[in-house]
């Protein structure tokens, strides 16, 4: 169907461009045509981008939520079949404040999810689509990639548990090396160095994967080796200059594992794309299999 440019918005053009991209990659459209109970979001509160959720009481008296997010609904309604993956993309209106304390807004969110028996090929594929999505939007962009498993493993090696672990994760997120040192000191954690070594593995993926810093880390912590090899097998096929490794990129460990990533465009002050593997969320919702996906926040492109 030919559509005159004058009757579609800039946002719609982006949506159709990305739909074509995802569709060509074997993804099919998902439509969230009913509301979910508030409980679904409440139980997985920290999975949401924002704290604020519009609640309303449905005509049958049940407390419902107005879509703050699409992924949870996709996971809840997915059906696992051994050996298969479900590939879905969506563009939906979601409702949340732009920042905490701001009024609620209707935001268009676009994204895709790959659920089921996913392997490294699927992960590489999703990363590739994330890169292509950014490229379709701008010339200057960066995709920051991290590996939650490696971060986890390092924290395990350091015997960092409970509140200490949470504090360290926050410090890593803010690249606050001084905080990491001070937390380790206060809590008697000796292998502080290990985490600092990990944070040093930052920069163009190509360079870092072959670089000294990563080698040094693997020497200090043998268990890291297979995880790093796995990471390589995912990233190397992409051969892309715009991929950075950055272990400060994180998502909540109660939901995410493995690869997580954030996409930035020059001139826009926060990440326009966020994604990762969320096998743990799938399990929490009582489903089988793994999952990886990402979302683009189209409101930031205004």
């Amino acid at each position: 169907m030919y559509i005159d440019d004058s009757i579609i918005s800039k946002e719609e053009k982006i949506i159709f461009t990305l739909r074509a991209l995802y569709s060509a990659a074997g993804y099919t459209g998902y439509r969230m045509n009913k509301f979910e109970a508030y409980d679904l979001y409440m139980r997985n509160k920290d999975f949401l981008v924002s704290d604020g959720v519009i609640t309303f009481t449905d005509t049958n008296g049940r407390l419902m939520a107005l879509k703050p997010d699409v992924t949870l609904s996709i996971v809840k309604n997915s059906r696992y079949e051994s050996g298969h993956t479900e590939r879905l993309y969506y563009d939906e209106k979601v409702y949340r404040p732009a920042r905490p304390g701001d009024p609620f807004r209707e935001i268009t969110q676009m994204g895709l999810e790959n659920l089921g028996d996913i392997g490294n090929g699927d992960i590489t594929g999703v990363l590739s689509l994330a890169l292509q999505s950014l490229k379709a939007l701008t010339e200057s962009f960066v995709l920051d990639v991290s590996c939650m498993d490696l971060l986890s493993l390092v924290l395990d090696e350091m015997n960092a548990a409970g509140d200490t672990r949470i504090a360290l994760l926050n410090a890593v997120k803010e690249k606050a090396v001084h905080e990491i040192r001070s937390i380790c000191e206060k809590n008697g954690i000796e292998k502080c160095d290990l985490l600092l070594s990990l944070l040093k593995c930052e920069g163009r993926a190509k360079d870092v994967l072959e670089g000294e810093a990563l080698k040094a880390l693997c020497e200090k912590c043998e268990a890291a080796l297979p995880v790093v090899e796995n990471l390589k097998s995912i990233l190397v096929p992409l051969e892309n200059e715009n991929i950075n490794l950055d272990f400060s990129v994180q998502s909540d460990m109660r939901y995410y594992n493995g690869i997580v990533f954030s996409g930035f465009m020059e001139g826009i002050p926060s990440a326009v794309l966020r994604g990762g593997q969320y096998d743990r969320l799938v399990k929490r919702v009582g489903k089988k299999g793994g999952a990886i996906g990402f979302a683009l926040y189209l409101d930031l492109l205004e």
Binding site: E174, K175, A176, H178, E179, F264, P269, S270
Partner: protein
């Protein structure tokens, strides 16, 4: 061009010296006058003075690429930025203070005067004490003297001001010092220069 938000006041002056020593001089900024923005086209840096409590929002929204502010501001506003360095200056602590001999009136909400609403809410939520918060913009220590509040939550440096007003710290909440912060997206596209600044200032601190 790197945009740097500096906190007005003594702390800002100290920090500016560090930046200049690190090689990012800006002669213009030392000239008398009422300008707010100072640029050195040569070494591609632009400084501006803002209220200490505004540094975080300038950096978070990308109007500044980097900036310096107290940890109190980061705790109060929780901006989504990188906290690259502890400058080990502007050292103080966030604390609850009360008139000497104070006892908690358990049968009603505790009236707390403060500039730091979020920190105060979080602190009392963690202890389960119901409070009636009174937001003030300055001279917090006046509030208990004039019976406007039972206690205050504020920054305490030497404790002199408290003593002068017959108040004393009854609970420490968290230690505070100045931090170097960076906008997350800026860091992606200007990591070279930002890292150079960080390293240089870090060296200055270590040497000191």
């Amino acid at each position: 061009m790197l945009n740097v938000a500096l906190p007005k006041g003594r702390l800002g002056e100290k920090v500016l010296a560090m930046f200049e020593k690190a090689g990012w001089e800006c002669p213009e900024i030392h000239e008398p006058g009422r300008k707010l923005i100072f640029e050195n086209a040569e070494n591609q840096v632009r400084y501006f003075w803002v209220k200490p409590s505004d540094v975080a929002i300038y950096v978070e929204r990308g109007a500044a690429d980097i900036g310096v502010c107290g940890k109190d501001i980061l705790l109060e506003y929780a901006p989504d930025v990188y906290e690259l360095l502890d400058l080990k200056t502007g050292i103080c602590r966030m604390a609850v203070a009360a008139p000497k001999g104070f006892t908690d009136p358990k049968d009603r909400a505790l009236r707390v005067a403060t500039k730091f609403g979020s920190i105060t809410s979080r602190h009392y939520a963690s202890t389960g004490r119901e409070i009636d918060m009174i937001h003030l913009n300055g001279s917090i220590e006046l509030a208990p003297i004039l019976k406007l509040s039972d206690v205050i939550v504020d920054i305490v440096e030497t404790g002199t001001t408290l003593r002068e007003n017959d108040l004393e710290v009854i609970e420490n909440i968290v230690p505070i010092s100045a931090r170097l912060i960076a906008n997350k997206a800026s860091y992606k596209f200007k990591s070279g220069v930002i890292d150079a600044i960080r390293r240089s200032i870090e060296e200055q601190i270590t040497e000191a």
